[in-house]
């Protein structure tokens, strides 16, 4: 069609580039506790979710916008967070001799990346790039519902569908062929609080953690919103009463 051609011309002036394949259906509502207008993050879920990220996802995915100090906000103590940071070796420097050196992580360090750069990440993942997860729930149309659906969406491909080598079938990924393997299996980790590590549980918890990471201000934002709206409601009443009084003596 000519329209499509005209648009193609507009675009081809920029880079020739691969276009994402067909879209998947909208994900079901997973009824997360933080999803409602006044919802908050469950601290237990956040801490378990961080554990899932740390023990599973962080092998491939970075979260470069987060620092270890941010973990203080999910209810971990100062000591716990310092201990977590110190588990990682961070490259620092140069020192007085002009050398880079390794030292244990501190509160102020960003989360350490699993790969030094995108190329290294691709080589280790069959050419696919495990995206940074810092703002992932804001960066996908279905938000947290989509992430949860994706993580629990590894099913057998329907008859007749051929999965390409190095790819996996996922019911919720656009185009259904995803380079990320199924990484959640029942009982693969032990939650510190004794919660049973089902796939559903791990997926919900890590999704909650990712939603918090994307919008760490959410709870404060909503609290402030309630106060502001109450203030405006009172102010509105007063202003409207004033307006009525001012206009009482004129017909209009």
């Amino acid at each position: 069609m000519r329209i499509v051609k005209a648009l193609a011309v507009a675009l081809s002036l920029s880079f020739a580039s691969p276009v994402l394949a067909a879209e998947a259906p909208p994900p079901p509502d997973a009824r997360f506790g933080f999803a409602g207008l006044f919802g908050t993050f469950d601290r237990g879920a956040l801490q378990r979710g961080f554990q899932v990220y740390k023990e599973v996802c962080s092998a491939c995915h970075s979260m470069r916008l987060l620092s270890y100090r941010n973990l203080l906000d999910i209810g971990l103590t100062d000591e716990q967070v310092r201990a977590i940071a110190a588990e990682y070796q961070i490259t620092d420097g140069p020192n007085e001799d002009g050398e880079m050196f390794e030292r244990p992580g501190r509160l102020s360090d960003r989360f350490r990346r699993p790969f030094p750069n995108e190329q290294a990440a691709r080589v280790a993942n069959n050419g696919a790039y495990p995206v940074d997860l810092s703002v992932i729930t804001k960066a996908r149309a279905g938000g947290a519902n989509y992430i949860h659906a994706l993580l629990t969406g590894y099913v057998d491909p329907p008859a007749g569908v051929e999965v390409m080598p190095g790819m996996n079938y996922n019911a919720w990924f656009a185009g259904n062929q995803i380079a990320m393997p199924n990484v959640l299996n029942p009982g693969q980790l032990e939650f510190a609080d004794g919660t049973e590590a089902t796939v559903e549980q791990m997926s919900r918890d890590v999704t909650t953690f990712l939603a918090w990471a994307a919008e760490p201000e959410m709870e404060r934002r909503r609290q402030m919103g309630v106060k502001v709206l109450i203030f405006l409601a009172i102010l509105g009443g007063l202003v409207y009463a004033t307006k009525r009084k001012v206009w009482a003596d004129v017909k209009h």
């Binding site: 329209i3 920029s14 276009v19 994402l20 996908r140 402030m224 919103g225 206009w247």
Partner: protein
């Protein structure tokens, strides 16, 4: 009273001292205190004041964002997220600026719609209207460049598609695009100049708004009846009547604004813009922000690129000559039974264009966009010029006061005697 000093009526010695030398207090008193304003405004007349407040909010939040933002392709995305995470109330500032832009367009769309429905563009307010259209154009340029700054996927690809439109201009098109980009693709030089211009344009807008309001205060406001006030019985002093009424609108507006910021800050945006820009990956659908959609639909309705660009800019250019396309002397649609229906249909059509602008340009969506484009232009170029001659308007009321107070009322002076007549101000 020395020669050369302004004849001030203020008693407070400090105010008076200033006012004699620089009559700002007299001016405020005249333009916002006693300014004679039609007594029959409805709440549509709030939207000019709302736009003004919105502009101030945009500038205030924008200046603080600029203190922390980094205009570089390697840092822009991250610097915006840092503002949201590490700057005190940075999330509030950024979400206010982001949602403020959405609201600004909503407010100005209603403001323009009001002008079209009540015929505010007609003589003697043509220039006032044209200044408004200039503001609207400047707003679109500002919003487009602002959207590029966070350097997400939609920033990058939106900038690429829109700047590429200029390549449709015969002969010099490609050259112009290279100059816009500062290179051979949307890249760091593009981001830098867009930041500079995005900072500059709101102040240009402020200047044009000043002219817009200055022109308004020469002709005075229109009103829902579309007939000119004939005397003090038809008007009220701006203060306290319209300061009070505008305040009601402002609080409602702030409540809507607050709800967006605090409870659904990303609802009106596109998720793809939280993916850092990547020149190698094209998003499945490149969709502009909602307020550009009607014009985007017109752009894509035409199979020819140059034709599409001309029609898209034509859709706004036609507003400049609207005062002369509408040949009817009657302003308000209340008294134009046929034009009123035509305009309401045009309004629905505008919404259809908004909707179809977000759809992929394929199949029957193209046809809908083409019909929508035809209706859009037909209203201005055929219906309005013809109706001015063919339509029989309803009888106009004798005066605003007669319409408001009823035929039997005694028409004395306004409720505040003498207040509606402006104080004489020395014209230097």
């Amino acid at each position: 009273m020395a020669i050369g000093l302004h004849d001030s009526s203020f008693k407070n010695p400090v105010v008076r001292w200033v006012d004699q030398r620089l009559p700002v207090f007299t001016m405020i008193q005249k333009e916002y205190g006693t300014f004679p304003t039609p007594r029959n405004f409805n709440y549509f007349w709030n939207f000019g004041a709302l736009a003004m407040i919105n502009l101030m909010i945009m500038i205030a939040t924008g200046v603080f964002l600029a203190m922390h933002y980094t205009a570089h392709v390697d840092h822009a995305f991250e610097s915006v997220e840092r503002i949201m995470r590490d700057v005190h109330f940075g999330w509030l500032i950024r979400y206010a600026h982001m949602n403020g832009a959405h609201l600004f367009f909503a407010v100005v769309f209603i403001h323009i719609w009001r002008g079209m429905y009540y015929g505010s563009y007609k003589a003697p307010r043509e220039l006032l209207w044209i200044l408004g259209v200039i503001i609207f154009l400047l707003m679109m340029a500002t919003a487009f460049m602002g959207y590029v700054l966070p350097w997400g996927q939609m920033s990058f690809w939106g900038a690429t598609v829109i700047t590429n439109l200029f390549s449709a201009i015969p002969l010099i098109g490609p050259e112009i695009v290279t100059y816009l980009w500062g290179g051979f693709s949307v890249d760091n030089p593009t981001l830098n100049r867009f930041f500079s211009l995005h900072f500059l344009l709101p102040f240009v807008i402020t200047g044009v708004v000043f002219l817009h309001v200055a022109a308004l205060h020469i002709t005075g406001s229109n009103n829902p009846l579309g007939i000119e006030p004939k005397g003090p019985q038809d008007t009220l002093p701006f203060h306290p009547y319209y300061t009070a009424k505008d305040s009601v609108g402002i609080v409602v507006y702030l409540a809507v604004f607050a709800f967006l910021i605090f409870f659904m800050p990303n609802y009106l945006g596109h998720a793809d813009n939280y993916i850092p820009a990547n020149p190698l990956v094209t998003p499945a659908h490149i969709v502009p922000e909602w307020y550009f959609l009607p014009f985007y639909a017109i752009l894509r309705a035409v199979p020819d690129k140059l034709g599409g660009v001309i029609l898209m800019f034509g859709a706004i250019a036609v507003l400049f000559v609207l005062p002369w396309l509408d040949t009817s002397k009657v302003r308000s649609m209340r008294f134009r039974p046929i034009a009123r229906i035509a305009f309401l249909l045009w309004t629905v059509n505008f919404m259809v264009l908004t909707w179809v602008g977000a759809k992929p340009a394929e199949g029957h969506y193209v046809l809908i966009a083409q019909i929508g484009t035809m209706i859009y232009f037909a209203y201005f170029l055929v219906v309005l010029p013809a109706l001015g001659r063919l339509e029989r308007p309803l009888p106009l009321p004798e005066s605003i006061a007669r319409a408001v107070l009823g035929p039997k009322a005694q028409l004395g002076g306004g409720p505040v005697p003498g207040a509606a007549t402006a104080q004489p101000m020395e014209k230097a």
